[in-house]
């Protein structure tokens, strides 16, 4: 992907550096840009594996009855699909790829605070991913608990649950170290003159995210260790037959795993906040409101985990408190949507692939967010709990939100990262197919869920066949769109037109340096005097 680029302009980060050539030069480099690309490549591979598993599940669900895979295989598939997509794709996703690549550049630094620790985090990620892949083979078969590893089934299941849990633990470690690195980087390495409130909004969202990564991940770490200890030594923290409490497991799991949703979505919001002012050529509306809403989402998001457990057995008072706090999170999220729309108002909007992905992000995020309120309300939750409604809701947030923001980000920063432009026409065609496929795939799930289709079943009653059929067709449309998008990006990285330093007329610091950026990012020390979004 990079071989042709070295001729672009000498001294870019893509040229050989250090004492090793080729692939070893990449694997030993502590350059934040190279580490970002390493994450991008790994995440792309795991994403495609996760998509394939999802595709097979949709193929199975095309018609009622057993088609291609049996129930146990299906259980393994949705578990592995979840583990890969959550722990290996969307949680590291934007922060590890674009955070690594652009955070130092956007704040005018030469690298992150701890470059070697940064490379070490990537290696931990790879080890964790390898263990996760390993858990799918050998032993007594792929784990079948779902990605949530709910006790006591995760303690009784004979499948490779221990390995899968260990993988999630190791991946969490990588996430913690990346968060730690970003916090110190943002505190200590901002360019001269870049006060906190002159910092661009993507770094701000990464800052809020990093605190969640650091403060929430250890809880799931210890919980997963306890599951491993239970399976290995029969300790019984969560096993009712030994006096343990399975509901306690759910609490501990969601104390992390709900904030993890904000680890995914906050950087996505940050990306969209960078893109919209650029393509509207307008100063972002309500800079401080966006900053504060990011911090508010991170803060309140820590306190809403109980809404995953409304039907598990909690006191009425806790249920009301968690429901109320869940509704509170909607406020800062809505503030962001208003800010994006207000930024577009009276702007000279340039509609290209990046912008199309961004506005479909807003559209889908709103559907995902509002259906989240249905789920957060106690009465409706009982009706739709563990149905396809939940599946549709979180795919609208995780894929329609974070996934589309990732696609927007890769198109937005592609010229900067690889020094070449992507094909706009093919990009737009890809977007149209991805967007229609997404809607066809996930929207019918809301209706199926309201009708009572439970999640995690490999078979269904005939009355659900219409919705499932449309949904499966949507899956194949979506996969076609993703293939077109990936093809376009790979081809453009080799053969695209050369990119200028600032193809979109952006105002943040990454657009002031050549594409692709030189090894040390900036030739001279950066001094910031203006606000990041001062469009004329």
């Amino acid at each position: 992907m990079t071989s042709n680029n070295s001729a672009l302009h000498p001294g870019s980060y893509l040229d050989q550096q250090g004492k090793y050539k080729g692939i070893l030069g990449w694997l030993t480099s502590t350059d934040h840009k190279r580490i970002g690309i390493l994450y991008l490549m790994c995440i792309l591979v795991f994403f495609l594996v996760g998509v394939t598993l999802g595709g097979v599940m949709k193929l199975e669900l095309l018609r009622p009855g057993e088609q291609y895979i049996d129930a146990q295989t299906y259980n393994g598939f949705f578990t592995v699909h979840g583990i890969i997509m959550i722990f290996m794709v969307v949680i590291p996703g934007l922060a590890a790829v674009f955070g690594n690549f652009f955070l130092p550049i956007m704040i005018g630094a030469k690298d992150v605070a701890f470059p070697r620790l940064n490379l070490f985090s990537w290696y931990i990620y790879i080890v964790g991913a390898a263990i996760a892949v390993l858990s799918q083979f050998g032993g007594k078969g792929a784990p079948d608990t779902g990605w949530t590893f709910y006790a006591p089934y995760s303690i009784d299941s004979n499948t490779n649950v221990t390995t899968a849990v260990l993988a999630a633990f190791v991946l969490g470690f990588s996430s913690i170290l990346t968060g730690l690195n970003f916090i110190v980087t943002i505190h200590r390495m901002r360019a001269k003159g870049m006060t906190w409130f002159k910092m661009p909004l993507f770094p701000w969202s990464l800052y809020a995210t990093a605190w969640i990564q650091v403060l929430a991940t250890p809880i799931v770490g210890i919980t997963l260790l306890m599951v491993i200890a239970e399976r290995t030594f029969r300790i019984g923290f969560f096993d009712p037959s030994l006096g343990g409490d399975p509901i306690l497991y759910q609490h501990l799991f969601w104390i992390y795993s709900h904030p993890a949703v904000y680890i995914m979505i906050l950087p996505a919001m940050g990306v969209i906040t960078e893109i919209i002012p650029t393509f509207c050529q307008r100063k972002v509306f309500g800079y401080q409101a966006i900053v504060l809403s990011s911090l508010a989402i991170a803060g309140v998001g820590y306190l809403v985990w109980g809404h995953h457990m409304f039907t598990s057995g909690m006191s009425d008072f806790s249920r009301m408190a968690f429901s109320f706090l869940t509704f509170i999170v909607a406020i800062p999220s809505a503030i962001k949507v208003f800010n994006w729309i207000a930024t577009m108002y009276k702007g000279s909007i340039k509609i290209n692939t990046t912008f199309l992905y961004s506005i479909s992000f807003i559209f889908q995020f709103m559907i995902g967010g509002l259906t989240g309120l249905t789920l957060g309300a106690l009465a409706t939750n009982v009706h739709v709990h563990d149905t396809y409604y939940v599946v549709a809701h979180f795919h609208y947030i995780v894929f329609g939100g974070m996934g589309f923001a990732f696609f927007a980000a890769i198109h937005y920063w592609f010229p900067k990262m690889f020094g070449r432009m992507y094909n706009e026409k093919l990009g737009k065609i890809g977007w149209a197919i991805v967007f229609s496929g997404f809607t066809l795939l996930y929207f019918p799930m809301f209706i199926l869920g309201l009708q009572g289709m439970p999640r995690r079943y490999f078979d269904y009653l005939p009355e659900y066949s219409g919705g499932h059929f449309i949904s499966s067709i949507g899956a194949f449309v979506l996969i076609t769109g993703i293939i077109i998008m990936v093809y376009n990006l790979f081809r453009s990285a080799k053969k695209g037109e050369l990119a200028p330093a600032n193809p979109w007329d952006g105002r943040t610091l990454e657009w002031t340096i050549p594409s692709p950026p030189p090894l040390e990012n900036f030739d001279n020390e950066v001094v910031v005097t203006e606000h990041p979004y001062d469009y004329k």
């Binding site: 070490f120 250890p218 770490g221 019984g236 030994l242």
Partner: protein
């Protein structure tokens, strides 16, 4: 923890900040266990009371004193290096390492005794006990085990720092790595200060 960055970049404050954030994560890691302890104790108050009598307060108290003194000696070694007293600093770190070793030896005999009496999770005897007692011994081994693992990591870190001082890599004007090792060691000490009363003293 990484100490200095590449690119001839050195930032002692940043490095210390990174260590503090790492300490937050460690506290939350043990926090999860304390939560499980609190819930189980509230649920099985009597069983915890009976099971806790099996632990030897004397051994626990000795280990507490050992760790507290070792925390003092590593703090003193930081002062010594600031005053350019390399030999004193090395000696104090040596004492810290020895005390850590004493802690582990104590732990070995303590655990050994329990295992000898079949008081470990999953043993035939433990499985006949009441639920709360099973949980108590589970928590006892898990919490002190995880703590002992941190002692071992701390010993490796202090050993590394020892040689860095010996080779003049850590100097009076560049001792952040030593200070970070000290912070980590205080954390290990602090967690024990909570574990000791929770497991040994409250009966």
């Amino acid at each position: 923890m990484e100490h200095t960055a590449n690119h001839e970049h050195r930032d002692d404050k940043g490095s210390k900040m990174g260590m503090w954030i790492f300490i937050f994560t460690e506290l939350l890691l043990f926090g999860g266990l304390f939560l499980v302890y609190a819930v189980s104790r509230a649920k099985f108050f009597e069983d915890f009371h009976i099971a806790a009598h099996q632990l030897n307060v004397f051994v626990g108290a000795v280990n507490t004193i050992v760790l507290l003194v070792s925390s003092m000696t590593i703090a003193m070694s930081i002062t010594a290096i600031q005053k350019n007293q390399k030999r004193v600093a090395l000696m104090l770190l040596g004492i810290t390492l020895t005390l850590a070793f004493v802690f582990m030896v104590n732990k070995y005999f303590e655990w050994g005794g329990k295992i000898h009496h079949q008081l470990y999770p999953g043993s035939d005897i433990v499985l006949t006990l009441k639920h709360g007692q099973v949980l108590f011994f589970g928590l006892y081994f898990f919490m002190t085990g995880l703590h002992a693992f941190h002692i071992i990591v701390g010993m490796a870190l202090i050993g590394y720092v020892f040689f860095q001082i010996k080779n003049d890599k850590i100097k009076p004007d560049n001792f952040q790595l030593l200070e970070n090792a000290g912070l980590y060691w205080h954390l290990v000490d602090l967690i024990w200060i909570f574990l000791f009363p929770l497991l040994y003293l409250i009966t």
